[in-house]
C-alpha cells in the first residue's frame, strides 16, 4: 500500500469501507432497530464486525437476546484493543485527542498507519480513521432510510446479505490451516447448538471454540 500519496490512500480506503455502511444501515433496520438507534451504533460503536454481530444476534432473537448481542459485539471488539496498543505508541497523543484516537482505532486506520513509514504513519491513521468515520456514518443513514422503506427484508434477500457480510469479514482472516480449522469448528458448533440453547448463545459457544483451540498446543507457533 506504500504506493500512492497517503491522503489518496486514506480517502479511497475510507470511501470503500464507508460504502458498506449502506448494507449495515439496511440490515440494522431489518433487525428491529429504528433509524436513530442504527445511527447511534455507527457513531458510538464504530466497529463493523461488532455492529454486524449486534444486529445479527438481535435480528434472530429479538429483545430477549439483547444480553447475548451485547456480549458478542463486545468480544468481537477485542482486536481493536490490540490495534490501540500499537497506535498508542505510534501516535503518542494525550488528553482529548487520545479519546478521539481511541474511537478511530479500527481495522482500516490501523492497517493504513502500519503500511506507511515515518511521519506518514500518524497522518495515515488520522486521515483514514476520519474518512471511514465520515463515510460510514453517512452511508449508515442512507442505508437505514432505504431499509425502512422496503418492507419485508427477506423478499430482498437481506438475511442472506447479513450472512454474506460475515463471510466477507472473516475470509481475509482465514490465513492458515489453524484459522480455517477454527472457522470450520466454530461455525459447526454454533449451528448444531442452535436448537438447544437460547438465541445468541451459539455465537458465544463459537467464541469458546476459539479459546479452546488457543489452549491446545500449536506446533506452528514461533
Amino acid at each position: 500500500m506504500q504506493a500512492g500519496k497517503v491522503g489518496v490512500v486514506s480517502l479511497s480506503v475510507g470511501f470503500a469501507t464507508g460504502l458498506y455502511g449502506i448494507s449495515f444501515g439496511a440490515l440494522a433496520v431489518a433487525s428491529g432497530l429504528d433509524i436513530w438507534q442504527t445511527c447511534v451504533l455507527s457513531l458510538f460503536m464504530f466497529s463493523g464486525g461488532s455492529q454486524f454481530a449486534f444486529i445479527g444476534v438481535l435480528g434472530s432473537g429479538g429483545l430477549i437476546s439483547l444480553p447475548a448481542a451485547i456480549l458478542s459485539s463486545w468480544l468481537l471488539g477485542v482486536r481493536n484493543g490490540f490495534y490501540a496498543v500499537n497506535m498508542s505508541s505510534l501516535l503518542q497523543t494525550l488528553g482529548l485527542k487520545r479519546v478521539v484516537a481511541a474511537q478511530l482505532t479500527i481495522d482500516e486506520s490501523t492497517a493504513v498507519a502500519l503500511s506507511r513509514e515515518g511521519e506518514e504513519q500518524a497522518k495515515g491513521f488520522w486521515l483514514t480513521g476520519g474518512y471511514v468515520f465520515l463515510f460510514w456514518n453517512i452511508m449508515t443513514l442512507i442505508g437505514a432510510l432505504l431499509g425502512s422503506s422496503i418492507g419485508d427484508p427477506k423478499v430482498w434477500g437481506l438475511d442472506a446479505a447479513a450472512a454474506a457480510a460475515f463471510v466477507a469479514l472473516v475470509w481475509p482472516r482465514l490465513k492458515n490451516s489453524r484459522m480455517r480449522l477454527t472457522g470450520f469448528f466454530s461455525a459447526f458448533v454454533a449451528i448444531v447448538s442452535s436448537p438447544f440453547v437460547p438465541v445468541g448463545v451459539p455465537i458465544l459457544l463459537a467464541g469458546a471454540v476459539g479459546v479452546a483451540i488457543w489452549a491446545l498446543p500449536n506446533k506452528a507457533r514461533t
Partner: protein
C-alpha cells in the same frame, strides 16, 4: 432490557477495548500469545455468525435460499470482489431464488 440501553451499553463496551488499549502500558499486550488469542476468538465469533446466519432460523436448522447465496459470496471472495459487491450479489441471489420458488 430496553433496546436503547442495549445499544448504548454495547457501544460503551466496544469502545472500552479501544480506550484500554491506549491507556495501558504498551508492553503487556504485545505478547504474541495474547495476540494469538484475539485473532482466534475473532475468527471463531465471525465464523459462528456465518453458520447461524446461513443455516438457522427460529432456532431450527433450515436449508433455504440463504445457503446458495452464501456459496456465491464465498466464490466472490475467492475472486477478490469488494465487500459491497459480495453483500449485494448475495442478497440478489437469495431474492431471485425466493421469487422463483
Amino acid at each position: 432490557m430496553n433496546l436503547w440501553l442495549g445499544v448504548l451499553a454495547a457501544s460503551a463496551a466496544v469502545y472500552s477495548w479501544k480506550l484500554i488499549g491506549f491507556l495501558i502500558p504498551t508492553k503487556s499486550l504485545k505478547h504474541p500469545r495474547i495476540a494469538d488469542l484475539a485473532a482466534l476468538v475473532t475468527v471463531a465469533l465471525l465464523s459462528g455468525l456465518v453458520g447461524v446466519q446461513t443455516l438457522v432460523s427460529d432456532s431450527r436448522v433450515e436449508l433455504d435460499a440463504r445457503l446458495p447465496a452464501v456459496l456465491v459470496a464465498i466464490v466472490l471472495m475467492v475472486l477478490r470482489a469488494p465487500f459491497i459487491v459480495v453483500v449485494a450479489v448475495a442478497a440478489a441471489v437469495a431474492a431471485v431464488l425466493r421469487m422463483w420458488f
